[in-house]
């Protein structure tokens, strides 16, 4: 089997590291080799966060080479556009339409790109784009902090990992008191992408 690489991006506090840990753990439960690495920088909060997850028979570099990610998993749309060069030509982009303007924008200097600008950038690489309004869906569940697991549910439809392995990993990695709402978010994410039209 060919190795699978998933590049996950977002901003500090969104739970990207936890999401990539769950994905890597799921691959391990499949009996695969897996490596993951995070780029966090020196920001405590609000900075860009990137996780590289690679899985398959044997993985070498934990860093995904530019142009070799099979899936781009974006929890914040500006950061997704920034990381787009990692995506393989014709790859899949799974992106939350959530936007968080950085300080360079909110202090009045820069301009946060419009959705069409972001999608144009991503279209240069992606074969399929799933641009999802995840925040609204998880807000209906009652906890917007489950956006990461909602998107993992959507991701699970795109990857050949068993639902059993996903469930085991979610149960192992999430605290008991928030497990049920996260399992609900995961199911919602699965449904979302099964029904979603490809952009």
């Amino acid at each position: 089997m060919k190795n699978i690489s998933v590049l996950m991006t977002g901003i500090g506090g969104q739970g990207i590291i936890l999401a990539s840990d769950i994905l890597a753990d799921t691959a391990l439960r499949m009996g695969w080799d897996v490596k993951k690495t995070d780029s966090i920088g020196m920001a405590q909060r609000g900075g860009s966060v990137i996780s590289h997850v690679r899985m398959g028979e044997a993985v070498n570099s934990p860093l995904i080479p530019v142009g070799k990610a099979d899936v781009l998993f974006g929890m914040e749309k500006l950061e997704a556009a920034r990381s787009c060069p990692f995506l393989v030509s014709g790859g899949k982009a799974l992106i939350s339409n959530y936007g968080s303007p950085p300080l360079s924008v909110t202090s009045g200097g820069g301009k946060y790109p419009a959705d069409e600008v972001i999608l144009d950038i991503i279209r240069k690489r992606a074969g399929e784009i799933f641009f999802i309004d995840g925040i609204t869906k998880v807000a209906d569940l009652g906890n917007i902090r489950t956006l990461n697991v909602f998107l993992l549910g959507a991701l699970s439809v795109l990857l050949p990992l068993s639902l059993e392995a996903w469930k085991e990993s979610l149960e192992a990695r999430l605290p008991q008191r928030i497990l049920d709402i996260n399992l609900a978010a995961f199911s919602l994410g699965q449904k979302e992408i099964k029904n979603a039209g490809v952009d």
Binding site: D25, K35, M42, Q44, G67, K68, S104, S107, Y112, R125
Partner: protein, 613 residues
Amino acid sequence: MHNIEQLEAGKTFLLSGNEAIALGAYHAGLKVAAAYPGTPSTEILENLAQFDSVYAEWSTNEKVAVEVAMGASYAGVRCLASMKHVGLNVAADPLLSASITGINGGLVIVSADDPGMHSSQNEQDNRHYARLAKIPVLEPYDSQSAYDFMFLAFDISEQFDTPVLFRTTTRISHSKSVVRVREALSVKGKALFTANCEKFVMLPAYARKRHVAVEERMKELKRYAETSPVNGILEGQGLAGIITCGISFQYVKEVFPNAPILRLGMTYPLPERMIRGFASRIEKLIVVEELDPFVEEIVKSMGVEVSGKSFIPITGELSPEIVASSAIKAGLLKETAIMDDFCKVDLPQRPPSLCPGCPHRGLFYALGKNPRRIRKKASGASSQVQSGLVVTGDIGCYTLGALPPLGGLDTCACMGASIGHALGIEKAGVTDKVVAVIGDSTFMHSGLTSLADAVYNRSSITVVILDNMTTAMTGHQGHPGTGINAKGEKMQAVSLENAVRGIGVEDVLVIDAFDIKALRDAIATATDSDKLSVVIVRGECAPLRRRSGASRIIDNTRCTQCNTCFKLACPAIQYQGGSVYIDPDLCAGDNCGLCEQVCPVGAIGVIGKAVAE
């Protein structure tokens, strides 16, 4: 993070390099561990602190950490000190001294280097310390090797009577990969210190004998390198043969999947016979290593023809695409489609910033409002006539205070340097007043001794200690001022004000980090005075506090868009739809209130107070 004490032998787990190092050391019978937090090394001690049978401490600095480990080694137990690369500069004195005394219980010094400077002021290559100190260095290339090499590191240390340098990099320390866990070794023997002056008292007469032993040790280590299980050849085809080590091995496998490779787990001393044998079988020998040509230069000194840094960058972190594009440049690889022409679009950057509710923000704002500082900023280099205000800085989250719009720092070099810098600028004879800004953990690390220097040499600088009651930037570790140890237990706290007064500073002021007027007055008074003064600015680190009170809001009927509040550089204060807006999810509420204090027209407040509903 796993509860790594519960990981069973024989099973596989996904561990970070730092988790693997901690677990390997524990399973190899570690008894004592000491460290000062520093990215990317911090999680090693955090994980070791989970084990009941391991004494794990946050030391005041890396020098102390290595000395604690040396003492434990002399007492016969296996011990470890871990730190980031620049931490080893602080600990270089005991490192070189441990080399000459040798050890009793196994002594491993972990240095986590930071190629690419993800969170550091330089990207020095600490393998040079192994050569300087005449000790072996091990370099793992994934989490499994980090785990396995730790057992070996203690064995080598004890077999050859030497400290072992265990060098990782950010990409090894912070990547997770699969580790098969072994049975833990049963710990042999009890702690026992037996006096041996000729070994442990380095008077010149004894040290001269020890130096001879160290040179003998190097010869034996060179012989060991030839047969060590950590060095080995991976057969392959192709004209070029590649010597590599650490994370670079993974990139080489990615780019040259079939090339013959000599993988070095021990990069000092090198296995000369093995390298000559490998070189004789191939047409072109290259070395792929991150940062300095450490291996390459030693191989060259053997008289073996080799290249590497003529096409592999010496600066920054490597990656598969950098290794590939370098190999294409050197004619080792055909140009392929991997480096296509993805046009770089101009997207707004997301630089790091101080958190909403950060207790450092007010001080930098107040410094910016000081008339001397305003004068200095306005006059640039031509300020010889009027006295301005120079601010020397230090290492911590507050280094971000140098960035605009706060612009509150003029220097930042290394841990504790702010006070020495301030003293030097003053003694050089500038007309400006000088303020040093240093964090509480950094002050404990290496500010105490320089403050004593300032007292002793009759300085009139002002030292501001930003006391957020934690080591924030590395993820909130304890330090002597907090009185909370590495295991989370309550210990005796070292009082900053008592320490400062004890050194002999008479003007000591403690003020609330969120009181702008008090901050401005304190800076004015301290800089107008000719006496040495210390201002302790106290306020708890924002992410450690529970949000209290309502978010501040802006009364747009009063707001004149003067932009004063933007000078605070608070991520919660934003422009939205043509007016100023405070993001209620980000605002720290009653924990902060700085924007309310700085607004000149009283447009910021909470609903029902100050601001109309």
